[in-house]
């Protein structure tokens, strides 16, 4: 035996290899998340051409106030998803989740047509991280309205 590895060096080597492994694993996970786990695209990102055109993807944003229209068949719904900068018209045939409301968050999965109409196969409601009793929500709403009237005057 010509060379023997000192135990101290062996331990150091093991630590370096382990750290390298952690680094590679992290990089791979983060990379996978970046390319696959962007759960939805905002209308602005879609307008910038970041969303895939050849396959289904998800768009997310707020349901524009006053945009929800139900068709005569009672199942088909059309609405507009907006991030306040850009917006996308969506049509969907199916049952909507309970929390689906104008002015609230929504995520729709489907395909964007060449005419700019997004045909959804699934619609999910995205709720926010605020929890309060209805009275408190009502009070906040009133306060916001009062603020608006003051500004308007």
């Amino acid at each position: 035996m010509g060379r023997t590895v000192k135990p101290r060096h062996k331990k150091l080597l093991a630590i370096v290899l382990a750290l390298a492994g952690i680094g590679i694993a992290t990089a791979l996970i983060l990379n996978a998340f970046r390319s696959n786990l962007v759960f939805f695209f905002s209308p602005t990102e879609v307008a910038e051409g970041k969303a895939p055109t050849d396959r289904a993807f998800r768009i997310g944003g707020l349901v524009e106030d006053g945009s929800v229209k139900r068709q005569a068949d009672g199942l088909t719904v059309s609405f507009v998803v907006t991030d306040t900068a850009k917006s996308i018209p969506v049509t969907y045939k199916g049952i909507l989740p309970d929390l689906f409301k104008e002015g609230k968050g929504v995520v729709a999965e489907g395909k964007l047509g060449e005419d700019g109409l997004f045909t959804a196969t699934q619609v999910l409601a995205k709720h926010d991280e605020n929890y309060m009793p209805p009275e408190a929500a009502h009070a906040l709403e009133q306060a916001a309205k009062a603020q608006n009237t003051l500004v308007a005057q």
Binding site: R34, N36, V38, F39, L96, N130, P133, A137
Partner: protein, 243 residues
């Protein structure tokens, strides 16, 4: 008092035995208090109405799933660095409870997701990284079970725990770093966007989960101590006394 004395399994065995009833009773009382506040005192939510109440189980379970993992990684690191036997035993004693809380978080999340979002499961970053956490727990437990040599098993399992610890900040910040269907954090350094009585119920349940975890981990670590130290005089004397 010499705190290092408690790093000795024999001393710790007796200390744990005295602590268990306190934590077990504490867990029971806090659970009753927390569930009462959560289900009878806390008001209905303005947009999710009654369905939000699953938060009183879901959030403490999810917090514990991440926190227990970090504690396991801590004990694993101490064990690897100082070769202390008790640290590895603590890591092994915590793992099943961590896996259980991860499962509860995923399960109650599905129950919450179906009525609120409209889907049991989606592959968003928060849900996926929490699922990876469950796989990590199961993987670590399986690795320990697969290696017969206790010392080698301890080291391998703790190394895997340390490597997997990178997943915990990913879970926590996933809702911030990526677009997720899962909503953002309610409790933030900048303030809490939750009604005070709802928050009280959630925090009491979180403390209950802590007490429960400590109690069952101590019960488990006592078993592990007895098993590993069965050839020592003090365990033989103890067993002889009990028989």
């Amino acid at each position: 008092m010499n705190l290092y004395a408690y790093a000795s399994p024999a001393t710790f065995y007796h200390l744990a035995g005295r602590l268990i009833p306190w934590f077990a009773w504490g867990a029971g009382l806090l659970t009753v208090w927390g569930l009462y506040v959560g289900f009878f005192v806390a008001p209905t939510d303005f947009q999710q109405s009654e369905a939000y109440r699953i938060i009183f189980i879901h959030v403490p379970a999810a917090w514990m799933s991440m926190f227990i993992y970090l504690v396991m990684a801590f004990w694993g690191a101490i064990g690897l660095a100082f070769n202390t036997r008790l640290s590895f035993m603590m890591a092994r004693a915590l793992a099943p409870t961590g896996a259980m809380f991860t499962f509860v978080a995923l399960w109650t999340g599905a129950w919450w997701g179906k009525p609120m979002w409209g889907a049991w499961w989606v592959w968003d970053a928060r849900l996926t990284s929490e699922l990876i956490l469950l796989f990590l727990y199961v993987g670590i437990i399986a690795l320990w079970a697969a290696i017969d040599d206790i010392k080698r098993g301890d080291r391998a399992g703790s190394l895997l725990t340390l490597i997997g610890a990178i997943n915990v900040p990913i879970i926590y910040f996933s809702v911030k770093w990526w677009n997720t269907l899962h909503q953002g954090a309610t409790i933030k350094p900048s303030g809490t966007s939750m009604d005070a009585i709802m928050l009280q119920g959630m925090l009491v349940m979180a403390f209950a989960a802590w007490f429960y975890t400590i109690a069952v981990a101590l019960v488990r670590v006592r078993r592990i101590i007895l098993e590993r130290e069965r050839h020592t005089e003090w365990v033989k004397a103890l067993l002889a006394k009990e028989i």
